[in-house]
Symmetry: D2
């Protein structure tokens, strides 16, 4: 069984493990104050072309999201998210557990725009309601779509005009920035969002996300919040060494490009085989709509999630590729899809 | 500069890194449901000689403590801890941040006994006060002392008679169980406490603590709590592989024994050199009281914390050894202490 | 300006004030343990025809809702509410501030039914999502509709079969139970819901809601929760005396009947004048759809909320009657509506 | 049985009830926006000789304390209180339930001074510990002592120099300000503390505390916090009318003076009878130390708390007087004390 279930099935890119091994017996300061962590942070600042950033390395996405949102908001303030937003439905109420409501906006393609947020602001007028204060987006979104630079600029402008913070969850940021449809640079983000994180776990690290805080007023005492929420690893080196390796050259982006290329191959071939997609995705997750009988046959050899029922005979599945996805596996999948699809007649 | 600051300065025991490297490209289920995690859990159950345990691997001590305590208690219930307890003063109010008060008991040696808890129970009589419900201890304690089996049995009995949960923080449990003064077995704990954790981070792992829940009523839905608090690593394999390596033979205990042996060497020689100690410690942390001038000289070559001022001329320092402490470094430290102390005249 | 804005514009029914005055200098126990509170609780038990109920008097609806929900749920559990539910949008995130998510169900008439809840249960399958545990309803609903006995029985059965708690917010319970369309008795509620409250503030009391806990497992330590959330009044007599007065005879129901009668008069006459309503309401809130020009004229003499825009020329307004609404004011309003409407031509 | 148990045994001063009765049927805006509340706020501002204050009326002390502290602090910040502080031990962990630790300072007379706070600041040095941010005091203290103006000035200066907020719980503020030992004016408080509340419940109101926020940065959105915590009464008039009555002339102070006078009578006579006191109290609570046999006899006719055991034969009791305490009752108590004490021999 080859897995297309997710992008965190394997361990880490070998160079990352190697970095852990080589430095292993060197005694270092704990809690993220070791030299490797400081170097990793320095490298990210260089990529961001800015020095006035606070960067912290945390262990995972939910940990980062809950630490950020609970520290940025005052008790009566709420986050706004697309109805597909990860924090809304897939983090066990982690944000609410810190005391904050998330206001959901119905969107069609996973992306929030000013038009979705405006009615929320208009509806929240007085102290009987929460005060919308932070806009949560992810790039790519939960369903694989990516923000264009103009879209993000427009959203950013809207947030500033309306005194809203803009926070970007970059669990798969590499895939977004390396998408062939992408027109954003990593260094653009500093001017567009108040904070974001560069996902490591889903792009070749064992674990780890690099949180970048761009806005001065949000920086104070952030290490307290990390510690209080249980996110300050004693051996911070484990995170520092990984991000150092990912950013000392283009490794972070190379890994994302590979994942995207594998998804692109699948997308093209599935499309050529006559199938359509649930959503337009330019990143490493694709959602082809296939006949249920074909899905059943593919499931004999491949692991993936059945995402949504389309009609009595068809479902959308989710295929995720990663830095570790093998081209042979992609080719085999395509052959199996074609082979099987020949028996099935043309696609949906 | 050689560091005796803590037991988390180095990476992981080489066998652990090796296990990560060897399994690296194998695709595995995420979120702690991979086969290595399941095997590690199985091995710990065998060591505990019980099958009816729920075991979860978490990333760090504060994460574990806050997840446990917030899920075991109802909103009005409080924890009880020794005044030196880690959760009281060194976790940035992580427990209170989940809504629960910690009631502090003044103790002299870091250890809680029924006599400390009784007055707390007697003082909390009605709904204007919190309801004491969980006793938090650590073994070894924050100041290096360890519980004897009779002490823990007495405390356990007291807790049961008074409808209190007993939770043991085992950040350095290996060191306690391998102390020459210890008379407790790992497998004894199942019958004595409601839950405890086996610390990995401070005993040779990159990160990771194995939480063992012994009491049935505390087991339900525990994975929800881990996820909600941000503690569920996508690549749970990172924790599973480490605990598997630590418990597939005696590695976990061998590492603790080494740390203890190094502390023992230091303790004996410092004692022979005529110095006394702030507390009696039978584990891998010792607190010798030294002349300030001697401390200053040692600080030129070694890193350690100055723990407490004793009088105008003397202070207690904290020396921590670990699985990675080198015997040569210990010898050198002793020589430096002796050599310097010769110049200084006799010790305090 | 006569106000139809709400049912809490006036003070208390004169008999209630009189009870406060007459007992005023009598020294009584504090914190809800005075004899009047105990008598009030006894009377409510008699009305409920059950002795095995825990009844607590609290100061307001939000206070009651947040105390109930935060004490009934464990940290990962969530409430379910209709999209119009008061706790969702009009309590400043009070429930989330205690750590719990509210899952919203789209309904058309304010009422939750098993068909709305089923998909929520089906979508929440594992520890990456909150666990739905408590169904929140109000009777009457936020938009004036009321539950029939069969509807509530069906919902109750569904909750029990699915291990869900059912909690009824009775801010305007009097109005629901005294509606001419109602077929529920107060004493029916004990067998149908796990807890509910009898609203005093909106039915003639200065302040106060009587929370009735029916299910044994939810009763323990409830006074701790009230105190912890700041809801335990030192002079609990203020609540006890009011509920005693309301329930020593039929005053509570008489007041509700009056409010309903006034709403009924308005409903009939507005209907006869040719106007329709946004929702079918059988209680003391009605939502007529009127031409904007008519609304403007009525606003010169009456206070009420414009509730929703219907089209370019029409809006729905909300008219609320109360125990204190004067029949002359109702007649005047109807005359003004008719008179104005004559000028306007026929209604929408 | 005459009660000296507390100062909230009776209802309200008759003038207050009268104000409620007279305005009862007047329709008013809800949620604290009625004209009476606005007038009461205006009167308090006049007494404070400042216009730049935000004043809110809340229902009780715990409600006020938890709303204030949770809104003033960021998640990692802690409150500091004397070990006798009400929020520490008598509010069921209400502050911790909002996520904040309270750091306790051992004091001998209930009063916090810079010397108690300095060591707390020195001990909290980094992100592994909470950040002390708000100093909580009450005047009078939990044990009846009062702050002098120089003491409060010194504490205020210390707080400002150390970037600490100073919050004063004035549950019995009237009694402090009307004590014969007092040298503080109500209007002094604006320049000394960041916020405080003027207690109504324990000085003649049915319920209600007037929170005064002096510092600009703490004022924003405060009504959101009140609503979120369940403290915004629909019929805010109930609070407004009471504070209007208390402050339209000197009623608030007259009531406190009466309570103090009654306590003074008792203090003098108990002292003349040869008994000493547990603490020096200049307010309406006194703590005489009496022989246990005398206490037992007094308990046959009077209600009061036995506060602390002094030795085998003596205990301290707590006697509280109020606006409603009758001079005849005081005289009778004194006679009974003397009479009984004659049988007992001289006092302790």
């Amino acid at each position: 069984m080859y897995s297309f279930k997710d992008d965190y099935s394997e361990g880490a890119h070998p160079r990352i493990l190697n970095a852990l091994v080589e430095s292993n017996l060197e005694p270092l300061d704990g809690y993220g104050e070791d030299k490797y962590t400081l170097q990793a942070i320095e490298l990210i600042k260089q990529r961001m072309k800015r020095n006035d950033l606070d960067i912290h390395l945390l262990s995972g996405g939910t940990q980062t999201n809950l630490t950020v949102i609970s520290s940025f908001l005052r008790p009566h303030e709420a986050a706004i998210a697309a109805n597909t937003g990860h924090i809304l439905g897939h983090e066990t109420g982690a944000i609410e557990a810190t005391g904050h409501k998330i206001l959901s906006c119905e969107v069609s393609d996973g992306k929030l725009a000013p038009e979705h947020i405006k009615p929320v602001l208009e509806a929240h007028t007085d102290e009987h309601m929460v005060k919308p204060k932070l806009v949560y987006i992810s790039n790519p979104t939960e369903i694989g779509s990516i923000y264009t630079k103009p879209e993000l600029q427009q959203l950013s402008r809207f947030c500033r005009e309306n005194n809203l913070l803009l926070y970007l969850d970059g669990a798969r940021l590499g895939s977004a920035l390396c998408s062939e449809e992408n027109d954003l640079q990593l260094s653009d983000l500093g001017g567009l969002v108040d904070a974001f994180y560069i996902g490591g776990t889903k792009n070749g690290a064992l674990l780890g996300e690099a949180l970048v805080i761009c806005t001065d007023s949000l920086k104070a005492d952030f290490r307290y919040y990390i510690k209080q929420k249980g996110g300050l690893l004693a051996k911070g080196r484990v995170l520092g060494l990984q991000f150092l390796e990912l950013f000392k050259d283009d490794l972070y982006f190379d890994l994302a490009r590979h994942a995207n290329a594998m998804a692109g191959l699948l997308r093209n071939e599935i499309s050529r085989a006559g199938y359509s997609f649930l959503t337009h995705s330019a990143s490493n997750q694709i959602f082809p709509i296939l006949p249920n009988r074909l899905i059943a046959r593919l499931q004999e050899k491949y692991l993936f999630y059945v995402w949504a029922k389309i009609d009595a005979d068809h479902s959308a599945i989710r295929i995720v590729t990663s830095w570790a996805t093998k081209e042979e596996a992609v080719s085999a999948f395509i052959n199996d899809l074609r082979g099987t699809s020949r028996d099935e007649g043309t696609g949906s």
